[in-house]
Amino acid sequence: MGLLEAISLAVLAASTPLLIAATGELVAERAGVLNLGVEGMMIVGAACGFGGAWLTGSTMIGALCGIAAGTLLSLIFAMMTLGLAVNQVATGLALTILGVGLSGLIGARFVGERIATAPHLHIPGLTDIPLVGRILFGEDAFVYFSLALVVGVWWFLYRTRAGLVLRAVGDNHASAHALGHPVLRIRLFAVMFGGACAGLAGAYLPLAYTPFFIPGMTAGRGWIALALVVFASWRPVRLVIGAYLFGAVTILQLHAQGWGVGIPSQFMSALPYLATIIVLVLISRARTGGSTTPAALGTVFVPDR
């Protein structure tokens, strides 16, 4: 395996959880709901995902447990912000704190256990193609699923009526309500989708990345996913670019250190975040037309009748 191929594989693996979590959050935000609890949903997804896989020996069941856990946690968020019209920012932050604690509790009995890594795809012939074979046909299912997920979300948002309604709800919930669209129900589904994705992204970490569970193992990836959504200016295609760019900078800075590039490692560790800020500035400068931020993002909606 060549170095280029090895780096590409590492980038794919590092980017995948970010991409999955960010895709879910993108849909929720497009519906006008800002859920800052991604990190909390991810870590609970990691604990439950690992637990499921450890008890049954099946990666698939582990992934489903992660999805279920993330969805359940997002329901708490939905109950508060949609049902009781509580401030979304505060609830989201509380959800993260809850998630971190809860995952420690759930995961306490799994700490120190090991499971097998998620199986990698192997298609004789195709996987063995030099350079690109392992990347295109030799990764675990999560990697390919994450890309399919983005394509699906893109198609849903821009090519279906339901997607159009969801975007309308996110831009102007009063008008959408006046037109007879069930604003809260649509937001509920969007939030649940976000929770499911965050749970799956979290489960990816102990199932495929580092096959054991340790409290706090998401280590801030949920926050990066949140930043990526803004970075992508709420567009799925840019989200893919952003996630892979972030993954690439993260991995390349490690390699640069190994090669002995004479830049302080502290600076290189900050590089992914720096790159994010720079691109944010470039995007906002280059933007013609109107803002792409969902206009009703973060505002609560209370139907008047």
Binding site: G101, V111, G112, T117, Y209, T210, I214, A219, T250
Partner: protein, 359 residues
């Protein structure tokens, strides 16, 4: 994010012997502040094993409390004070960054005794303690040089602080006794704990040609990557053989239990006084995990080295020590570098082909 958990073990033990009628007021309350979760399988996990050893040793004479995930800085000062106010008479603060907060709280509570791990500032009621982990690193260096086919070691480092740098140096000095041309590739993860990033760093090192993974970060992720790739590795802080049954050569285990028991006993007997304790292989504060996955001759050499260090016949930093630029380092300890030089180490030894970040 910070959770408060009161260890119930002591209380349960007390309940079991309730006939004796030991009242809670007579118990010595001992507090612990942890930087990570007790389930980190590394640094904090080992400190908590030390706490459990205290509970086991003294049973209903003590009541232990711990606060986990306490970040360094202002938050830690509040947490330490909380323990002091709750009536803990002996408080262990187990991370370097708790140094100043510990001293500040200690001034306010002169009747409470404090034990700060890995620091260097003391007071009438503040002791410091740490492990001579570099002794273990020296042995690891010897093993690594024997086992490496490529002659390139991969080192996942955390932060460029003296403890980590002296670890790298001790590793290289050990390795150079076997192979003078040994190379080390160092990647700074700039974190103590991020399993994903640690794994990525280990992958990068292996992809760049290193064939042995050493780590100075806290999670078993690098060990697990080595295991996945069929390469050899050393554990950190704790026994990690579970994560690399065919990979772990040995591991430096932080064994805090005996020290904690001794200090709690001193407190119970009223003989506690402020001191500085830096224990190594000899005092069993540093313990090597069983030497595995290596041929018998390497194992024998490792054990001989361990014995020599334990007996004081061998020092990892025995003079002459040459710095990276080839100049001899002043030998303040007579036959080896003195403790001050090791505790403040901010240079690489000859043969490390890298630059300390930020220098």
């Amino acid at each position: 994010m910070r959770k408060i958990l009161i260890a119930t073990t002591a209380a349960m033990l007390a309940a079991g012997v309730s006939l004796v009628g030991a009242s809670a007021a007579e118990k010595l309350k001992v507090g612990f502040i942890y930087i990570g979760p007790i389930g980190d399988l590394g640094w904090t996990y080992q400190h908590d094993l030390g706490r459990l050893a205290v509970v086991k040793e003294f049973g209903d004479k003590v009541e232990t409390t711990y606060l986990e995930n306490v970040s360094e800085g202002p938050d830690s000062e509040r947490s330490i004070e909380q323990l002091a106010r709750a009536g803990n008479k002996l408080i262990f603060t187990t991370s370097f960054g708790y140094m100043d907060p510990t001293l500040k709280v200690a001034k306010k509570y002169p009747n409470v005794h404090f034990e700060h791990a890995t620091g260097y500032k003391r007071d009438k009621n503040v002791s410091t303690y740490s492990g001579r982990f570099y002794e273990g690193r020296y042995i690891q260096g010897i093993i690594a040089a024997k086992m490496s086919k490529a002659g390139v070691l991969g080192y996942v480092a955390s932060f460029p602080i003296p403890e980590v740098i002296s670890g790298i140096n001790a590793t290289m000095l050990g390795a150079q006794t076997i192979n003078p041309n040994i190379k080390v590739k160092i990647i700074w993860a700039n974190t103590w704990f991020d399993p994903g990033k640690e794994a990525d760093a280990a992958k990068a090192l292996l992809d760049q040609g290193a064939d042995i993974i050493m780590q100075h970060t806290d999670s078993p992720a690098p060990m697990q990557i080595a295991s996945e790739r069929g390469k050899l590795a050393f554990g950190q802080d704790s026994e990690m053989i579970k994560f690399g049954p065919k990979s772990q050569l040995t591991s430096i285990i932080d064994n805090w239990g005996p020290y904690y028991i001794e200090r709690v006993r001193a407190e119970l007997e009223g003989t506690w006084k402020s001191e500085d304790f830096w224990g190594g292989l000899k005092t069993k504060m540093v313990v090597m995990a069983p030497y595995t996955n290596m041929p018998d001759d390497v194992k024998k050499l490792a054990m001989e080295t361990e014995a020599a260090i334990t007996e004081g016949k061998l020092h990892a930093f025995k003079c002459p020590v040459f710095a990276q630029d080839g100049k001899e380092v002043e030998c303040k300890g007579g036959t080896h570098l003195d403790d001050g030089q090791i505790l403040g180490m901010n240079f690489y030894v000859k043969g490390v082909d890298d630059k300390i970040p930020g220098k």
